[in-house]
């Protein structure tokens, strides 16, 4: 399929990244597995009381999602940087931010979406009610794109730095905190009968803010890294 112009380039990039991920499909499995294992580590580390587990479940699931998103962020630009593809991206006639948005979309599709899909199962394991599970899943669906968007800034800033992985955690995790609070808060407040709308609309606001802003900041960081 040939397609010119900006849309072609962006979709081409998404397609390429998805293809690459498919070639390395074990990586998706690792992300998912990581999510599941972090979630399962919890009952092991904390002990098996159902009441405690139910209380901490939304927080634990959100943290597991956040960490597994973060884990896969390391790969977002690193290989492109090492093999010179990033230079090529900068030398296209398209606005870099648009290409970056394409890459972020591909990243979410392979790291955020699977986590969203799997979360009801884990929620069930923690003994959450049906309603809570629905809200949890919906909050993840709304919130994980923000994680990919904001996380890309950290990934771009730490390119080419040894130990960049942990450093980017340091840069990015504080930026993730509002999402975590609103996401876990949505489930908790719906459980306590206060309704989750408030939290969910805040999550929505986050993603709406991040879509124009994050790719721009990421693009700036990428330019700095390549120079």
């Amino acid at each position: 399929m040939m397609q010119g112009g900006l849309a072609g380039a962006v979709f081409g990039l998404i397609q390429r990244d998805l293809l690459l991920t498919w070639r390395r499909r074990a990586d998706i499995a690792t992300t998912l597995l990581f999510f599941v294992i972090v979630a399962t580590l919890f009952p092991l580390g904390v002990g098996p009381e159902p009441a405690v587990l139910r209380t901490i479940a939304p927080g634990v699931l959100w943290i597991a999602a956040l960490l597994s998103c973060f884990l896969s962020l390391g790969r977002l630009f690193a290989t492109d940087y090492q093999d010179g593809t990033l230079e090529q991206m900068l030398l296209t006639p398209h606005p870099l931010a648009a290409l970056v948005l394409g890459k972020i979309a591909a990243h979410w599709l392979v790291s955020g979406l699977p986590v969203v899909v799997l979360s009801p199962l884990i929620g069930l394991q923690f003994g959450l009610s049906g309603g809570a599970i629905a809200i949890l899943t919906f909050s993840l669906l709304l919130g994980t794109p923000t994680l990919s968007l904001v996380g890309s800034i950290g990934a771009a800033l730490t390119l080419g730095i040894r130990g960049g992985n942990l450093l980017s955690a340091l840069l990015v995790l504080p930026l993730f905190i509002p999402v975590l609070i609103f996401g876990a808060g949505a489930v908790a407040s719906s459980e306590s009968g206060m309704g989750a709308e408030g939290h969910l609309s805040l999550l929505g606001a986050c993603v709406v803010l991040a879509i124009p802003f994050a790719p721009w900041a990421t693009a700036a960081a990428l330019r700095i890294a390549v120079e």
Binding site: G12, Q82, G84, P93, E227
Partner: protein, 206 residues
């Protein structure tokens, strides 16, 4: 017409070159020479707009490249020390992805023709690039030169790791590019071996 005017670059504490001025009319190859570390790569990256120079301007057809990023980059191919291939994609996928990203999408047939032209063996088409030999990988990267007709090529040591036959193929391709009115800027350690009337030289670090 590529115009480099009064360019200087430093790296760290070190001044690499200063007051480099050269202008390359269409139909010419500019060969950049100099010992290791003299700043050839840095100069090439500045010409592409990847590294902003300390001072000086680069003009493409009379206008500064920073003012016309889109037009300039859509007419440019840059192949550096790092060749920009994805290890896990096949040569064919690599070329198509690269060309599409740079705004010049190509058909499978064209990509295949380009790979054939630089001598990548058909057995390699379905392998991930990672398993190819050094020289085969460089060939895949260079195949982009056969894919489309960008007027400006910036090549950093394009002959690295190529055997005699592929070097000859590349040389012919460069000759064709300058003959049809393109411009090539290349850094090398050996003589490129094109028709001398079309070659201009620039030595760095003297």
């Amino acid at each position: 017409m590529l115009d480099i005017h009064d360019l200087s670059c430093h790296r760290g504490d070190r001044k690499l070159f200063g007051q480099v001025s050269v202008s390359v009319p269409v139909g010419r190859l500019l060969s950049i020479e100099g010992s290791n570390g003299s700043g050839k790569t840095t100069l090439l990256r500045a010409i592409c707009g990847l590294t902003p120079p300390d001072q000086g301007t680069i003009r493409w057809h009379g206008r500064s490249i920073t003012e016309q990023r889109e037009t300039f980059t859509s007419g440019l191919i840059y192949i550096g020390h790092r060749i920009g291939l994805k290890d896990d994609l096949t040569p064919m996928e690599n070329i198509q992805a690269a060309m599409q990203m740079s705004g010049h999408p190509v058909t499978t047939a064209l990509a295949r023709a380009a790979l054939e032209a630089i001598g990548v063996e058909p057995v390699c088409y379905r392998l991930p690039t990672r398993v190819l030999s050094e020289g085969q990988q460089r060939r895949v990267a260079l195949a982009r030169l056969w894919c489309s007709d960008q007027p400006l090529w910036v090549l950093d040591e394009p002959f690295t790791a190529l055997d005699a036959r592929s070097s000859q193929l590349l040389r012919e391709r460069l000759q064709r590019q300058v003959e049809r009115g393109g411009i090539v800027v290349a850094a090398t350690h050996q003589a490129i071996g094109l028709d001398p009337s079309t070659v201009q030289q620039l030595r760095l670090g003297e």
